[in-house]
Symmetry: C2
Subunit: 332 residues, 2 copies
């Protein structure tokens, strides 16, 4: 079983995948991303994945057969295991916990070569609906404290399969970055009695220089202190702590802004690899006055993006104002 | 002038290099690392770098001419600029600061094809001496609060030139990661009245399963909650808050353990790209009872290392016990 281990200095939990333990030789030759070959996410290969936990499919078709538009399955090589209790234990001065959690894959479309930003808005909304439905379901498991939704596009961003997909990991701990966001936004709220993200949105709308896409209910911006070139955030304009409370209209509005944002990024940067991460409230904290859910998109522009000094110290060679302007000005 | 900008939620400072502002097209085609071609760090090209600020050279040779063994020059494309006052300013709700700092390059050897782990221990010690001397000198500038020493090896780890070199960045702020380490180790000290790093060393020596190299005065270990496969730390065994107080004997002992650690990593992983980062006390804090300087080495094993979810949430597929064992067992 995988282990969760806590850094004794920083308090950061890390998943140590003890079972699939990669040997040094596994890292030496890394295959390039290949087209073609067998794909377990394509129609007809439904039996090559664990049985589906959710699908939106044509009426009359059976689970784990073709006919689906979006399909969610447990990850065949999960980072955490679903069975078992959470056992906390010490190991001398160190702290560890059994690696209990869920790891699911959202297969976003039957079309192997599809690209999220070129799908119809309705289909993007359907993918978001699957994410939402799975988050709500996983929140029902009392062992979990945070459900992480993310999407890696491209080999350089960590995607091991090219068929469009995103992932969900249900965790028995709250990730460090989110803990910090909660603490920071709570502190701001204590001082200002306003949500820091609401204030960010107000200022961005006022100056508009870092706005990438503005819809009626959602906005995308290049953040003021962007870590990476073309880092872009998508936020609901109205205060809202939890993604999973979204209604059908808002989901459609979000899908439209997300699609346009990714389209602009794809044109500006020629379909870059990227990581997309949902930041939402922890399980059981739906009504926070100080937290505001949002999506962070970080293109991996080789050598520059991901160029973190391991010290939390980032150098961003592209001012976010310039990145936003490029993305606004590209022709779609 | 570059800007330092503060994330309003997390309080993290980021350097925004407004001047060299990379355009999207700069990211589209990334050249592969090439052998050959012009190298500004080789003998005879001393006039292609800014004038040296330090060198160890043959008696009778002049500055900025051949004859040096180690040479330190200002970075020709600095992330921060050395001239100017630190001006703090608001921009609506946001905080920014003028990007004042120093950015220097330690050219580690005249030999373009040399590799740190294969240099004589004496030469590794000489490089460490240059780092130490520059840190002490930069600490004299009252504008700086932290001097960051680091080394990127290989294109995938962010090195833009292959000639062996390391870098120093003097910062007017303390990097977030270090602030967190200081806070975490202070908290531990408050509870235990012992340095957390001293306790880590004691436990690692006791169990020995995560020890990579043990010398008389220094040790290298795969940390218990390693974020990345083969992440390795080098620490002084005796409590010591600041790297720059090291004496000649200790420097030699450190060079020997560092060289052997990197050799073992290079054999186990076939000369991987890596980032090496010195963690030491902030300027003016040389006597901290709770902090313990150390070096962190993170091999960049494509797709796996650097695979950070942007959420402070890491999955490490190689248990540190296994990584340490591999490194211990390789033949040098």
């Amino acid at each position: 079983m995988p282990q969760l281990r806590k850094d004794p200095v920083l308090g950061r939990w890390v998943i140590i995948a003890t079972e699939r333990g990669k040997r040094p030789t596994d890292f030496v030759h890394i295959p390039e991303e290949r087209r073609g070959g067998f794909c377990p996410f394509c129609y007809g290969n439904e039996d090559k994945t664990p049985p589906e936990v959710l699908s939106y499919r044509d009426p009359g078709t059976k689970p784990d057969t073709p006919g689906w538009q979006v399909r969610v399955v447990p990850n065949k090589f999960p980072a955490l295991t679903i069975e078992g209790e959470i056992n906390r234990a010490g190991e001398g001065m160190y702290d560890k916990m059994s690696g209990v959690g869920a790891h699911e894959v959202i297969i976003e479309t039957p079309d192997h070569d599809a690209e999220l930003s070129r799908m119809p808005v309705e289909h993007v909304a359907l993918i978001l609906k699957a994410a939402e439905q799975r988050i709500v379901d996983l929140q029902g498991d009392t062992r979990f404290r945070y459900i992480q939704f993310f999407r890696n596009r491209g080999y350089a961003a960590g995607a091991s399969l090219e068929h469009p997909h995103s992932q969900l990991i249900a965790l028995p701990v709250i990730p460090k970055r989110l803990t910090e966001e909660l603490a920071g936004s709570k502190k701001y709220y204590g001082y200002k009695e306003r949500c820091v993200f609401c204030d960010i949105i107000a200022q961005e709308l006022w100056t508009s220089e870092r706005v990438v896409v503005e819809g009626d209910a959602f906005i995308s911006i290049a953040p003021f202190a962007a870590r990476f070139p073309f880092e872009t955030w998508v936020l609901p304009k109205k205060h809202d702590p939890s993604f999973e409370d979204i209604d059908a209209d808002s989901r459609f509005a979000l899908a439209a802004v997300l699609k346009e944002t990714l389209s602009r990024m794809n044109v500006a940067l020629s379909d870059p690899p990227y990581n997309l991460i949902l930041h939402t409230s922890p399980v059981g904290e739906r009504d926070l006055k100080y937290y505001h859910w949002h999506i962070e998109i970080m293109p991996k522009l080789t050598k520059v993006a991901g160029f973190e000094w391991g010290s939390g110290f980032y150098i961003n060679p592209t001012p976010p104002e310039e990145a936003a302007r490029y993305m606004r000005e590209v022709e779609l």
